[in-house]
Symmetry: C2
DNA sequence: GGGGGTTACTTTTGCTGCGGAAGAATCTTG
DNA sequence: CAAGATTCTTCCGCAGCAAAAGTAACCCCC
């Protein structure tokens, strides 16, 4: 199949706008991008000829009977290409197949029984073969890994895999023949939400994830801000309550100690002697069992404080709360809101908070989005 | 005298670059702005003809004997125009005259014996007349006011002046015949530092001021982020230590309670019964007098925590600490650094902190910078 | 002191890519 | 079917850029 690239900057902005915001008429695009209509005719022509865009008369404003010549919405053929996204955790590999618009169309998970790079690459190749068999026209692979990743290709350091300088992209490309993009998992999730999710079109946007650890992503001017500590785990030193609990995972009273799933389970186990799952603890807290309610209430207050601090200093237009540990919001929502109130100026704009219960397939989808960004549109953000 | 405007976007970027970063050769400008040398010849010609720029062979790299044709630095004639900046406080008006490059060339202060808008405007007009008599070619006036300001012209609300919807710019323009720009005082200081001070050329930049209150300014992508609470005083609800002191000015343990000059004086007075100036308290703390040392130590730790939180969430390239209360850093610097360490990831980039002791004339200068931005270069940031 | 080298700037040329205007296409309304 | 509305296309002119070639102003060194 023909490859689309390369795109001029103006063409790229048109392509991204259509990809991210769905079918749009040329006139609408001209308005959004501050270009003339004539320019849009010119810019869209090669994009249509290359097959990236198509005229989609069925889409857009459906039967909105207006006067004048009907607009001709342009869209992407979301199904024309597929992308694979993988999220590698300690003991599992989660895989998804997505369309060009990053909708998940298939899932496949496999246990990871070892951490040898060659073995992991073999597993990824096998999963790729299985998924690609059912979904043709795979255009690329994105892989999300917790840890430090360089150049979209090399895992510089990943403590939980015990990897140092593993050229993962190369290993998988050799086995599959497909272009491969590797990135830090949090970074990938943030990019996905910035392009296709809660952060679409926003200028200042924050992603906070709660799960096995804390993840934090800052998007300014449509671009993710890279930072030194992202790959080593956030929140270990975000001390929210100096009198808070001490856990094996973080400093006393840190966001990690107060909010992450392992820490909450550790606290409950230390207090009750029984090992309970996160869901059981949340249910117990909702049922007002004292120990669970205390731990979860403390977590809720910590989350409220954290969100208020972020809002105070970053002033984002939206904060997305994601990860496997956001069930907290449902049980301890009042505590969260209460602490937001006490830590915010009464006249400050209310926090635009979105909560998204996400599982590991969302992390895998994030990796697929990175593949879309890099492979289809030439790796620039924005 | 001829007026310079209007400027094309490319011309404006050249003008701002020279204005902000001092004399630069055409080659250097081409490099910085990603333009060809030919374009710079074209762009600079009208700027030189209009008098905004001049060739300044005396400036630039002085005796750096390099080979080849010597470069021809372009600079602004800083003294060709003057700008007036005023900062209106509760009981004083501070005024400065600045050059085009925002250097302060004269100062003039007057007590403010009333808050009637007409009276204040009369006073500003009188001060303008006095300053303009000594410094000709005044091109415009900037006024900084604590409170909410709309459209660079109208003071929407200023609690300490008891003003509501006062069209200050119009009142002063009527009396002086000069263009007038009004803005919130913190916003003006932040703009000044972004253009001509610590934040020059930075993408992510934070200004934190400590004085009678707390001021906070966030600059992203070269633009100041406007926010709802800036004009009502920051920090009242930034609770740093829930067990901290209670003061009349802020919530218990808030940044205002812990850090502002009135709160620190209040705490010492409440503990010792004696009224001491801020400088006296700092000196006492340095001499290890217990009460003062305790209050100042607590303030230092609060400041460290605050700086760490800002750095964690905003990841700025630099934080500027300004205001009348930054003497704290000298006396309690160890406490500040200590708390930064405990609240930051060990692998995180160190905070790039700049401390600037500033007085009210710096606030007035900020207002003058706003006049420069708006009047000379057509009000766009960046 | 006069080449040769080096760097800064200017001029020329050609082209890209945009806006604007006019026109074609396609619908609704009367 | 005409008039009006709206979208899209075509065409033209031009701003503004890069590239290349030319000029100017210095250096060093023989």
């Amino acid at each position: 199949m023909t490859d689309w690239l390369p795109l001029s900057p103006a063409e790229r902005s048109v392509a991204i706008e259509v990809l991210v915001h769905g079918p749009l008429s040329r006139t609408e695009l001209a308005r959004r991008l501050n270009l003339s209509q004539g320019s849009l005719t010119r810019l869209t022509k090669p994009l249509i000829e290359s097959g990236l865009l198509v005229e989609a008369p069925w889409a857009g404003a459906p039967a909105e009977a207006r006067q004048g010549r009907p607009s001709q919405p342009l869209g992407v053929v979301a199904e024309s290409r597929s992308f694979l996204g993988f999220k590698i955790t300690d003991e599992m590999v989660y895989g998804v197949v997505t369309s060009l618009r990053s909708d998940i169309v298939a899932r496949l998970d496999r246990p990871l029984t070892g951490h040898d790079p060659e073995y992991v690459a073999d597993l990824l190749a096998a999963m790729t073969a299985e998924l690609a068999g059912r979904h043709p026209a795979v255009a690329g692979i994105g892989i999300g890994v917790g840890g430090f990743v360089r150049e979209y290709a090399v895992v510089g350091e990943s403590p939980y895999l015990s990897w140092r300088d593993v050229p993962l992209a190369g290993l998988v490309r050799e086995r599959t023949g497909l272009p491969v993009v590797v990135e830090n998992d949090v970074a990938a999730l943030v990019e996905a939400e910035t392009w296709f999710g809660a952060g679409r079109g926003l200028d200042r946007f924050v992603v906070l994830t709660i799960g096995a650890g804390i993840g934090y992503g800052l998007v300014l001017g449509g671009r993710r801000v890279p930072c030194a500590e992202e790959d080593r785990g956030f929140g270990r030193h975000w001390i929210i309550d100096p009198q808070g609990p001490l856990t094996p995972q973080g400093e006393r009273g840190s966001a990690v100690s107060l909010l992450t799933i392992p820490s909450i389970r550790y606290q409950v186990r230390a207090a009750t002697g029984r090992d309970a799952s996160y869901e059981e603890i949340l249910a117990a807290a909702a049922a007002r069992e004292p120990m669970a309610a205390r731990v979860i209430g403390e977590a809720g207050r910590a989350l409220g404080t954290l969100l208020a601090q972020i809002a105070n200093f970053v002033m984002p237009q939206k904060i997305l709360l994601a990860g496997e540990g956001v069930g907290l919001m449902e049980v301890a929502g009042d505590a969260v809101r209460d602490m937001i109130r006490t830590h915010r100026h009464p006249l400050a704009a209310p926090i635009n908070l979105e909560t998204k219960v996400s599982d590991f397939h969302d992390w895998a989808r994030g990796a697929a989005v990175l593949a879309i960004q890099v492979l289809v549109l030439g790796r620039t953000g924005g």
